[in-house]
Symmetry: C2
């Protein structure tokens, strides 16, 4: 059995949904289909999710709600008309949206989630309806009472009973169309996933039914070895291990969100990232382990927005517990950190700048100076992390040297090197102004000269 | 005013003590002289300190004590005779030793410290006596009631009142001969410094009197840029900053113990490491800041005996507090660690192997697995840390690349790179069997081609 997920652009229009139907039809193993809300049809289009956020805000601010409802409903009506469906499904969708709009909005978060999630929910209904209209036996299945989530305000995740409840779907005769992005708490409150929403739903479904494969359809042929917006025409990645994918997606690789990997990772289910617009392209396969290619490096990614807290104290290394106490102070500010390179008398803590404010920085510096009696404490900002990932790095002795030389070749200074724990990645900290140049330099070093694997 | 300290080989024989007298006499600024116990006169000789340890153990095991006393006393008698001193000083020394031997040894540590410290104490008396005999006005000054130390069982250090008490020595007319290596608690219990003992005494004296210079006389012309036992004929270091010296002495540079730097560091007093056997050689100067040379790297050192604890857990980086909790477990085993390189889902903790036993390892692994729910926990051993040190590294963009390439050139794999906090050092973790090869390779890269600065 294959679970497939179709992203926003794959279900943005009647034309796209026809492609989806053809893809599902072409392989009888494709029994469970998770769908996103209709995305952009062109670069200047507005996603249905954004129309819904606008609608929810208009309700809460008591603006012209009718106009906003119409904008959303018309998107579905256009799709339904073009697909040759009768008015029934569009009327159901309109009624559903009006029902959500009429709900109490005392708790803004719950209200907003409920309106937003209608994008996926109604699209699933519409697509199930279309499948049936063209003779594919299909049914819409709601996450209600099935995809059970934890309670507010914790970060959303699926509870173990979600997997149990959803496992029965493996015996389906019909094609199941399942909306992505949301589920319900035990009390029946709708909640959405924080990031990579529909990808997570598909991954949970694949895990729950023990799928042989999880296909993730998007609008690119594959994952590239480096950001194509920075590197000119980068090579595609044919196979990548879970660990490689996770390390890459951490720093700027936005194709597949790392949290979405978790459910399939636990079951060892392979993932295939494919293109709805070019379904015969093999795409990128994410596997527990991959066959070796002739390249030590699989991909290079970069992310900006990091800050460094530098702390020095003479004879620091003689003080048992210094590092632990420093991390405790940071933890008490509810800040998570990435790396902690250390010298003999100094330690740096690298964290995402988005977690900091001038007040938090001041508080941390004050505590470190006073409680830990540090000689010097300071924050610096505007750093990028460059991550070089590859299972082949494990036994490649000269790789760190080549990477460092390629970075130095751009004239940039290496502010931090982190190597030594993960054997599949090497992290360099650099000033953000050098990020793109370095990405190009590293791509040149590790990919340009070698033919596609 | 200059405080000078003479190490064991500098005061091992009459001939050596004559050199010391000439050195002290040649500059009237040399007013305070800290001395070690007589060291080895040749490579197969036994240090007085080792004779004393043997004596103390013989007392405690009720062996032939008289023979052991004689072995110690005869060393002093030989020196005194050759220096042309009468029997008085030798008799004083013998009486002193017999007095210490007769003391209660219920507390073995206190008894042993008391016997060991007699090596320095009696040598200081003998040298003061000789100075006077040749017309240099000198006096022996005891650490008693002056160099006040903290109480047992804490690691030995000098209390603030030690500095106050010793500061009056700055007004001395005569040359003060002060024994190194030990002091007394407020209750009058004799304690010795853990490591680099006489160097610390000299440093404390220099700091207390606000000396213009602290001269540390030993038996080498200078500090070398790399271990001369491994690297063939390494260049000498003419000037080195405190920080550089400290980073180097951490990993195997045994010329000057890092803890001994602390008192002079705090006062910014320059240190000059010189050779008693070649006092006109300029030696190595340790300074708060140094004038730049044409070399980015000042020295390279290496130390073996490190272990790595590797911990991995999927989505570790999402878990606020994971690193802190891990360090807490290690701290609760009273283990200090060196570095903690981290990947996305893994963290390694690098520590000195001497702190570990199979039981401690088992306990740590058990706790990490159970309390932190880690996927994988393991210890590996036999690692060396290679430290490249240089103030000039701060702005040298290609240095990490050159170092990594030099290491790879030896065929060794780099297990860890730590760069990012200290701007004057770069640390590589490697398997110990490659240590010497790598040291040679790095020396070749950074020193061989460049003429002496």
């Amino acid at each position: 059995m294959i679970v497939c997920k179709f992203g926003g652009t794959s279900v943005a229009s009647a034309e796209q949904i026809k492609k989806v139907a053809n893809i599902v039809k072409s392989n009888p193993e494709r029994k469970i289909v998770a769908v996103s809300a209709p995305g952009k049809r062109s670069s200047d289009d507005i996603k249905v999710t954004d129309l819904l956020i606008d609608l929810a805000n208009t309700v809460m601010m008591k603006g012209n709600v009718e106009e906003k409802i119409r904008a959303v409903v018309n998107r579905y009506r256009d799709i339904a008309d073009e697909l040759g469906l009768d008015n029934l499904i569009s009327d159901i969708i309109e009624q559903d949206i009006r029902g959500r709009v009429a709900e109490d909005y005392t708790n803004k978060e719950i209200f907003l989630d409920n309106i937003k999630a209608s994008g996926e929910d109604n699209n699933a209904k519409l697509i199930a309806c279309y499948f049936n209209a063209i003779g594919m036996a299909a049914k819409y299945v709601s996450p209600k009472d099935r995809l059970i989530l934890n309670d507010i305000p914790e970060r959303t995740y699926a509870l173990p009973e979600a997997y149990e409840n959803l496992s029965v779907l493996k015996d389906t005769e019909e094609i199941i169309v399942f909306p992505g992005f949301f589920g319900y708490t035990k009390e029946g409150i709708l909640r959405t996933f924080d990031r990579g929403g529909s990808d997570i739903t598909g991954s949970i479904l694949a895990s729950a039914v023990g799928a042989d494969l999880y296909e993730n359809f998007t609008d690119v042929d594959c994952v590239f070895a480096a950001n194509p917006k920075v590197v000119n025409d980068p090579v595609d990645i044919k196979e990548i291990s879970y660990r490689e994918m996770r390390e890459l997606s951490y720093a700027g690789f936005s194709v597949f969100h790392d949290e979405a990997l978790m459910p399939v990772y636990k079951q060892g289910i392979p993932v295939n990232i494919k293109n709805t617009n070019n379904p015969t392209a093999p795409g990128t396969r994410i596997l527990p382990t991959r066959t070796q290619s002739n390249r030590p490096v699989t991909g290079i990614s970069a992310d900006s927005g990091f800050s460094i807290l530098y702390v020095s104290k003479y004879l620091m290394n003689r003080e048992v517990g210094f590092g632990r106490k420093l991390l405790q102070i940071i933890e008490e500010e509810n800040i998570s950190y990435e790396h902690t390179p250390s010298g003999l008398d100094d330690i740096s803590v690298i964290m995402r700048s988005s977690q900091l404010t001038p007040e938090i920085e001041k508080r941390i510096m004050h505590r470190v100076k006073n409680e830990l009696c540090a000689d010097d404490v300071q924050f610096s900002h505007n750093f990028s992390m460059i991550v070089i990932v590859g299972e082949g790095m494990r036994h490649n002795t000269g790789l760190a040297a080549r990477a460092a030389a390629a970075i130095s070749g751009t004239g940039a200074n290496i502010e931090m090197i982190n190597q030594g724990s993960s054997e599949v990645s090497l992290v360099f900290g650099v000033r953000s102004e050098f990020e793109n140049q370095i990405l190009k330099g590293l791509y040149e070093e590790f990919f340009a000269a070698i033919p596609t694997a």
